[in-house]
């Protein structure tokens, strides 16, 4: 039986880039109500007026006791604070999920205070956007993107299924079920490493006209250097052990090429590039 959202009240905590895309995406499922909380009253008023949400609340305690599903769209520390401060207000049996880019630090940060009668399923939608001047983000940023979930054995199977249905209906592509350790290990590589590299590349250049001298790779590789500084610094530090290990390995690999370029070892470089080319092809476009 397909999950029915029409009798559900859903809260989106935080109407930033991701939160507003969730509010927009939830409409397809026509839940009974989509509520939102935010620190800024004007954001909530605009969201109400534009029909993005049914009603906004600055104080989560006013609405949390009614909500069947809570999607926390906040940065790591803010998400921890939100859950800790509001633990007493969550509705019994409610499904809580989040969008934070590291999972171990979030799960550990609430494990001692999480009530037994709520069901927290950690999540990570692999979607985002460069900085924009628009106030609210459309759900189209989700289209075809990966969504990682790290449920535990304690989670109710029907809630995991409900969340998967919701994710699919919002337009995401693959849903990957994994554990927090694997999540943080892979994310250190596919996401955090990329951001440190992009930032380091831009860091090196003192020529704002540098893009005259390129074929597209430099711009593609450094676009993510227009970074949300606070959010990423927080995620890097929260995943410090895994990220610094990968950065060490990455430096070793760069040094391998550097040493062989310096020594003019053409055949060694060609051989390694051939292996790498095949490996990358196996990963798909």
């Amino acid at each position: 039986m397909e999950a029915d959202f029409r009798n559900k009240k859903i809260l989106v905590a935080g109407l930033g880039l991701m939160g507003s895309a969730f509010a927009d995406g939830l409409k397809v499922m026509a839940p009974e109500k989509v509520y939102a909380t935010d620190l800024k009253q004007e954001v909530l008023l605009e969201a109400e007026e534009s029909g993005l949400i049914h009603k906004g609340f600055m104080d989560p305690a006013e609405i949390l006791p009614e909500c069947d599903i809570v999607i926390i769209c906040l940065y790591l520390q803010d998400a921890l604070d939100f859950i800790r401060r509001n633990m007493n207000y969550f509705k019994k049996d409610c499904l809580i999920t989040d969008i934070v880019g590291v999972k171990r630090a979030l799960i550990d940060g609430i494990k001692d205070i999480l009530r037994k009668d709520v069901d927290f399923i950690p999540g990570h939608p692999m979607a985002g956007r460069e900085r924009t001047k628009e106030h609210f983000t459309p759900k189209s940023i989700f289209a075809g993107k990966n969504y990682l979930l790290t449920p535990s054995e304690k989670n109710r199977k029907e809630n995991v299924e409900l969340l998967k249905t919701m994710i699919n209906k919002m337009g995401f592509g693959r849903i990957i079920i994994t554990d927090p350790e694997t999540h943080d290990e892979k994310i250190a590589f596919t996401s955090q490493l990329c951001h440190v590299i992009a930032a380091s590349m831009v860091d090196l250049s003192d020529d704002s006209g540098i893009t005259s001298f390129e074929g597209g790779s430099f711009q593609d590789m450094t676009r993510i250097a227009m970074i949300n500084s606070e959010m990423w610094a927080e995620l890097f530090i929260a995943n410090s052990d895994k990220l610094t290990r990968i950065l060490d390995n990455f430096i070793d690999s760069i040094n391998f090429f550097k040493d062989n370029i310096k020594a003019g070892n053409s055949s060694v470089i060609v051989e390694r590039f051939n292996e790498i080319g095949l490996k990358r092809e196996a990963m798909g476009k």
Copy 2:
């Protein structure tokens, strides 16, 4: 007065990815003839039959004495060999250009043998393509791309203008006039560094399913790891001094982030990211 190509005979030396795109692009100017040389007879025959060129030659000496413009579309060492071996066959006053990704090594490699009565204008079209199964490449890979030229004072002004007209008509975007040192310095950064980084990233991964765990950055940043190994190894080694210096600086920048992540210096990271974000914005999309 606009340059007229209709009385020109043009030779494309090498019908690979770039050479075939040049042959295709030259058609708009309707030169008297577009000839090509290549090591593979079947490539020349197919190019003749498909109308890509007027006639192909395996031996450059047979056709070079007739050609007003020669575009050498070969790798660095092959381009050097082509120019050295065929120096006696170039037509008096002919315009020679090339597409090699480093300029100093090419210019130095021929400066002692270049005839005074030919006009060699080094060039570098910043266009390319991932490996493909198609035999010939359409000129569309040039659309809007940058083209770098490093003419010297010895070059004839009218030939530089002729070349610029040709480049524009083939659909390129900006033409940047620079010197070989600047070219090699900038290219080490915008192009060679990107390729070493992409290769090193793929080098680190032993998981062909890694792209399940990403939001797009990893795939975008590593697509160029499907590299033409021989060509790039040759270019890296030819530009070794500049590239290894940039790789050292890049490692320093990565280490800056690594050390501050390890130490949990959030404010230092945020401050640097803010600077970098502004710098990247100034570079344009």
